[in-house]
Structures are given as C-alpha cells and as structure tokens.
C-alpha cells in the first residue's frame, strides 16, 4: 500500500528536526545545533550509540538498548535484535526464519514475534520502540518537542522495506520528512554535495554487514549508481579470527560457551587497543595471549579481500574503474582498524575520508538533511538540475520535429537514431538541432545547424545517417551525424540552456501543453504532406518512364488522380482526408505497378539469360 501525504502547517511552531540512523546493530540520533551537526547522547551518560535491541517484559513493559542487551541471554525470544533484517518481510520469505530464533506468528502478510506480556509485535512496532527511545533522547537534549525526522535506510531497501521504516517513524510520533539512503547521508556529512559533480564510493563495514555504494553527484543530487556487499561480513568476523588464534594458542579444542563469550569480549577489546598500539593481548583464566598488529592484519587479510571483490564488482556494475572515484567515505566502526584504511587506500589509490566518526557519520548526514528540509530559507529550493528541462530533437522533412532526448531525461545521457535520405541522389543532409516540446520546427527553439555532405548518391531512403545526441553531466549537448556506408561524419557542440531563463523554459512547456492537440494535428498534416510529395514524385517518375504500359484512357485517369492529390495536398488542413487520398491513388496505381514490376522482371530475366549463356 502506498503511503499518504501529510499536510504541513507553516503557522504551527515547529519542533526540532533530527536525523536518525536506524541501524541493524546500533541506532543513533543527531541534530544540527548552532549550525553544527551533533550526535545526541542518552540522558544517563555519554553513550551515543543505542543498541538496536528491544525487550518485551512479562508485565508489558518495554526496554530498549543496553538494558535489553543484558536480557538477550536469559530471555532470547522476548528480546528482539537486528529487527532491521525483518523489515518488510513476510514469513513466506524462506530466509526470514533463519534470521533469528523467535516465536514467529504470521498475520496479514507480515512477520510477527510472539513476545512476553501480550499480543505479537511486528517489526514495524519493534523499530517504532527504538525510534521512540531516540525521540525521547533528542527531546531531553533539546528540552523541547521533536516531531520531525529524516531516517536513513540502506540503498538496496525496496519499496516495502522503505514503507515499513516510514510507518515505524509515524508509530513513534515522528513525521518522517524523508527517507535518505545511508551512503548518501554519509556523503552529505562530508559535504560532498558541495562539489560540482563527481563519483564517490561509500565503504561501510559494520559489525555484521558490509556495504559498498557507488554514488554519482550531478548538480547537487546524489544518484546511486550501484550497490554491493556481503550481509554476513563485518567486525564480528575480526573478533572471531582473534578468538580462533587464542584458542589455538591456549590449546583449547572444545571451548565452553562461557569461554567463547569471555574470549569474544576480550578479543574485541584487544582489537580496539590495536588501533592505537602496535601490540595487544588478552587473558583467559590467567593465561595471556599476545599478538602484534602485523599478526592481526594477516588474520583479517582474507576478510578484507572479500570486501575488495564486492567493491570491484560494484565498480564494474557502474561501468567505472577505481581511478574514476573522486572520494571514498568510510562508514561503520570496523573502518577504524588501520589495516582496513590502508586496504581501502590501496583499493582506490587514494586515502579515504575518515575525519568524521564512522559510527556517527550516517546520523550526522541525516541531521544535515533534516536541517535543510526544515530551514525556512531553503523551503523554496525546487531545483531540478539533474534532468534536462526541454526535449532535444532535429528537424525532418515537412518541418516536423523528431525528438531524440526527451524532457526530464536524467543527465548525462545519449540517444541515437538512424535517419534516411528523402530524395534520389541526395548527397548532403542538413542537421537542424531544435529544442522544445512542440511538434513543428517553427514553434521550437533553434539551437544549431550543420550539414553532413559526402553521402554517396543512392535512391531515396537508402542513404542512412546515424545521428547521436549526447549530453554530458554539465548539460553540454554534442550532436554527431555519421553516414553508415562511407563513415563520413560531422559533429557540433552546444549548451542547450544557454540564454534561457527559468521563466522561458516554463513558458515553452506551458505553450506545448496549450497547443498540444493542435500541434498533433499540424504534425500529422505535415507528415501526410511529405508523404504526398513522395508519392506524387514517384507517380510522375513512373508515368515518365513507364507511361507506355497504360492505355490512353487509363493514363488519363491516373494523371487526373495525381493532379487531384496534388491539389488536395496544397489546400487541405485535414490530415485524415489527405491520408485517404494518398491511399486511393495507391490503389488506383496498383495495376500499373504490377505491369512495371513485370517489365522489370522480364528485363532482369533477359539480362540473366545473356549473362548465363
């Protein structure tokens, strides 16, 4: 089901708007305060990341975050973690049940969890609890109401998952200003949108997932070119690599669950110390396991190579090479590991952007977007620069416009079409580039004109010219015409928007709508006039060359038909009647055409006989 639109009230005093990173493992809320994007801490301490874990208690109470994490071991089916993986999923999705050992209930096409203290809950409701906690956190930071939010979603989320995220926001009492792609949010946090253009990569290595996104910036708007990744690869695998080596070193072959849990915790702490120090160690039951950064780098090298494969695939999908990437943004706590940074640097051939806390960068970008959307000064920005405002085409016979690139096409773009010659022996073609939505050249804006000469002399319709229109990211149009048999070509470059104001663009569009039906009539008439001209020329040629095939009366009747069509073509404004007249002359000519064909065949047969004997 598609969501509904909300009516905003500009007179109502607005609460603060926040940006929310609703993550699989952790969530975070941020806002722009005094012009600076800032993450908001929980009231009980300096902890900014809220674990995305929700516990439902027997008494109907709900715990979110750290306190819910503590109950994961004792009440696993009443404590939902990684709910993001369930968003927009039904139990029918075979993979769903593998995502966690919960008591699933199917209802109205969505998955539900049977938890303690009441009715089954949906992933939307669980996410709503996380968002509500973040909203409260923001409200206590501001000591005021928070009613609007930008929430981030993975670039690969489908419509159902996005709708579910939006519903979770509403459930938490938030007006969702916008859903923003996570990689785009990270790019915004670094202000990459202030570049004129460019292609960027966002390398997101979290606790349990890896995502790579290739973004293209065209005039301030980010477009996702390609995405890739591994939904089971992250910092947790780094921890497991350490635990495995520690177990080997301690000679433990069958560790208890407690030992594994202790080692994972100690391993993670040891890993984090390695970010600053060349050496680290962990202890288990009084025994010490020491390792160097070089040891650790060696252990995780195969994991990093897996990310490299995904990166290269994403680049290939976008038709790019690492050299095309203008900047790389690091997201996710695991990108703090020095080996990850140097691996990314080697992968792209340039140091990644890493100044902003990789755990916070997505929420900070969302906060910037929320601020932009609610800042009154920017409300009137209705910039649509990533599409061409008016169609581009060329003139064909009869002054008819053939559009090659349509209005609203995203740029850069390229379109080609093959055009044929109209006259026997035609050796040149005038390419007249026009702009606008109207059907006839006289109503369009003329942009450029050039002539392609050197077309070999051929019957009408046989000369084939490939015309290509391409627009680059700066909106510059290149038109190339290439004759297909000789390869002779000619090109021109223009800036279609040069000298056009927004008002003129609007006026041209409004004119095209106002004259829409009328234009179609005129276009069809022009097309039929061209067709009549072609048919008349052909009829006269055949009368000249093969007129002897008709007896005098037939000839007289056919000539009258030709004259009648010519008179109608010059006088009528009704394309349908002209089309009928053309058809009638065609019918009338049929016996004539048959005789011409027979003559041609017997001529060919004669030629054949001479040649064969």
């Amino acid at each position: 089901m598609k969501g509904f639109l909300q009516i905003h009230d500009p007179l109502k005093p607005k609460g603060h708007a926040v940006g929310i990173d609703l993550g699989t493992t952790n969530s975070l809320v941020a806002a722009v305060i005094n012009g600076k994007p800032t993450s908001l801490a929980a009231d009980e301490g300096d902890e900014r990341l809220l674990p995305s874990v929700v516990h439902y208690a027997q008494n109907g109470g709900v715990l979110v975050g750290k306190r819910a994490v503590e109950l994961l071991a004792t009440a696993p089916t009443d404590t939902i973690k990684s709910v993001k993986r369930f968003m927009g999923k039904s139990l029918g999705d075979l993979e769903t049940k593998k995502l966690g050992a919960y008591q699933f209930v199917e209802g109205q096409g969505v998955v539900r969890f049977q938890v303690a203290g009441g009715q089954p809950v949906t992933p939307i409701e669980v996410s709503g609890e996380i968002l509500r906690t973040l909203k409260r956190r923001a409200e206590s930071a501001f000591a005021g109401k928070v009613e609007q939010a930008v929430i981030t979603v993975p670039a690969y989320f489908d419509d159902g998952q996005r709708q579910a995220t939006k519903d979770a926001g509403r459930l938490a009492g938030l007006e969702v200003l916008r859903l923003l792609n996570e990689p785009t949010a990270a790019a915004l946090a670094y202000g990459l949108d202030k570049n004129a253009q460019g292609t960027f990569a966002v390398y997101d290595l979290g606790g349990g997932t890896f995502d790579i996104s290739i973004l293209e910036l065209v005039d301030g708007v980010f477009q996702v070119k390609s995405v890739g990744g591994d939904s089971a690869l992250g910092g947790d695998d780094f921890d497991r690599a350490i635990v495995q080596r520690a177990l080997e070193a301690f000679g433990i072959t069958e560790p208890s669950n407690t030992q594994i849990a202790q080692l994972l915790q100690a391993g993670r702490a040891a890993k984090e110390r390695l970010t600053e120090l060349p050496e680290s160690s962990l202890t288990l039951d009084g025994r010490v396991f020491s390792f160097t950064r070089a040891d650790f780098d060696g252990w995780i090298a195969p994991l990093l190579q897996k990310t490299g494969v995904a990166v290269r695939r994403a680049l290939k999908d976008a038709g790019l090479t690492p050299a095309d990437i203008k900047g790389v943004v690091l997201v996710g706590g695991s990108t703090r590991v020095p080996a990850v940074r140097s691996y990314v640097e080697a992968l792209f051939g340039k140091p990644p952007l890493a100044d902003i806390d990789p755990d916070q960068v997505v929420a900070l970008g969302a906060a910037i977007q929320a601020d932009l959307l609610t800042n009154a000064d920017r409300q009137d920005e209705v910039l649509l620069l990533d599409v061409i405002p008016l169609s581009l085409g060329l003139e064909t016979m009869g002054g008819v416009v053939e559009k090659l690139i349509h209005r609203n096409s995203a740029i850069p773009t390229a379109q080609g079409q093959v055009f044929t010659t109209f006259q026997d022996g035609q050796t040149g073609m005038d390419i007249h580039v026009v702009q606008g939505e109207r059907e006839l050249v006289q109503d369009s804006r003329s942009l450029a004109r050039f002539r392609l000469s050197g077309i070999p002399s051929m019957p009408a319709g046989m000369g084939r010219v490939q015309v290509t229109f391409s627009i680059d990211a700066d909106g510059i149009l290149s038109v190339k015409a290439k004759e297909q048999t000789t390869g002779v070509e000619q090109a021109i470059t223009v800036k279609p928007t040069h000298g056009l104001t927004d008002e003129e663009v609007e006026q041209m569009l409004l004119d095209s709508i106002e004259h829409g039906e009328d234009d179609m009539q005129r276009r069809q008439l022009a097309e039929q006039q061209v067709e009549a001209t072609r048919v008349l020329a052909d009829a006269r040629k055949q009368l000249r060359e093969n007129g002897d095939l008709l007896d005098p009366e037939e000839r007289k009747r056919f000539e009258l038909g030709v004259e009648a069509l010519e008179a109608l073509a010059q006088s009528t404004t009704d394309h349908a009647s002209l089309k009928n007249a053309i058809h009638e002359l065609d019918e009338q000519a049929r016996p004539f055409v048959e005789r011409i064909m027979n003559r041609a065949i017997s001529k060919a047969a004669v030629g054949h006989t001479i040649e064969s004997f």
Binding site: I7, Q163, L179, L373
Partner: protein
C-alpha cells in the same frame, strides 16, 4: 512546407510518437478531498485558506511531494478551485503536476490524501517520492 524545411531532406520516422511532455491539464480535486479539506480548514479556523502542493528535489525516487496550508496565493502561483476550496501551485511544480488529481482515500486500515499524478513514471513506497 517552407523552403527552409525542405532543405533538410531527412525522411520523417512514421512511427515516431510525440512523448515526453506533461500529461493532462489542470489539477483535479475529488469530492471526498473537497469535503475533507473543508473540514480540516474549518478545524484550523481558516476556512478561506488554501492548500499548497509543491514538488521538491530529493526523496528516495528523485522528486518529492510537499503539501502545506497557505493563507494566500503567491504572485506567480496557479490557483485551482473547486466548491470554494483552493489549491495553489507554483509554476515550476505545476510542470510536474499537470493533470494530477488530489484524492482522499478511506480504507478500513487508514485514510489520507494521495496525489494521482499521470506524469509519475515510478513512485517510491514511502508515498511522497516519485520520478518522472
């Protein structure tokens, strides 16, 4: 046919259809939307205000709808009226909204406003983002 045009000598493509232009004209407001807007405006104590519909860049599908109450039309706005309910649209947004109908939908589960925009090529599940 002008002399200038015939100098072009490019055979027209008989299969070409004119496309790429906004579909439809004007803005429609359906009965239930009129009724609902009247009620909401009365509740807001501004029975003479109107509804502004705009299209903004951004959103998950490139463009996003925005609706807000407006006391008056702005100078270059286009105003559409039905049964005393006014809708204001700035000229730029109008280019993306031509032929759109504002509807109010009520189902057992939920109710709310929607825009039925013939220019939409794809819409996002979030409801207010689309592309043309």
């Amino acid at each position: 046919m002008t002399a200038e045009a015939s100098a072009t000598f490019i055979a027209p493509n008989p299969n070409a259809l004119p496309t790429g232009k906004p579909t439809g004209k004007g803005i429609g407001i359906d009965d239930s939307a009129v009724g609902r807007l009247k009620k909401l405006l009365a509740e807001r104590n501004t029975p003479n205000a109107g509804l502004r519909i705009a299209v903004k860049g951004g959103g998950c599908s490139g463009l996003a709808y925005h609706m807000e109450w407006a006391e008056e039309a702005r100078p270059r706005d286009k105003t559409f009226e039905r049964d005393g309910v006014r809708v204001f649209i700035d000229p730029k947004s109008y280019l993306y909204l031509m032929g759109t109908e504002l509807i109010f939908e009520e189902t057992i589960m939920a109710s709310g406003f929607k825009l039925r925009n013939p220019n939409e090529k794809s819409a996002c599940g979030c409801g207010d983002s689309f592309s043309v």
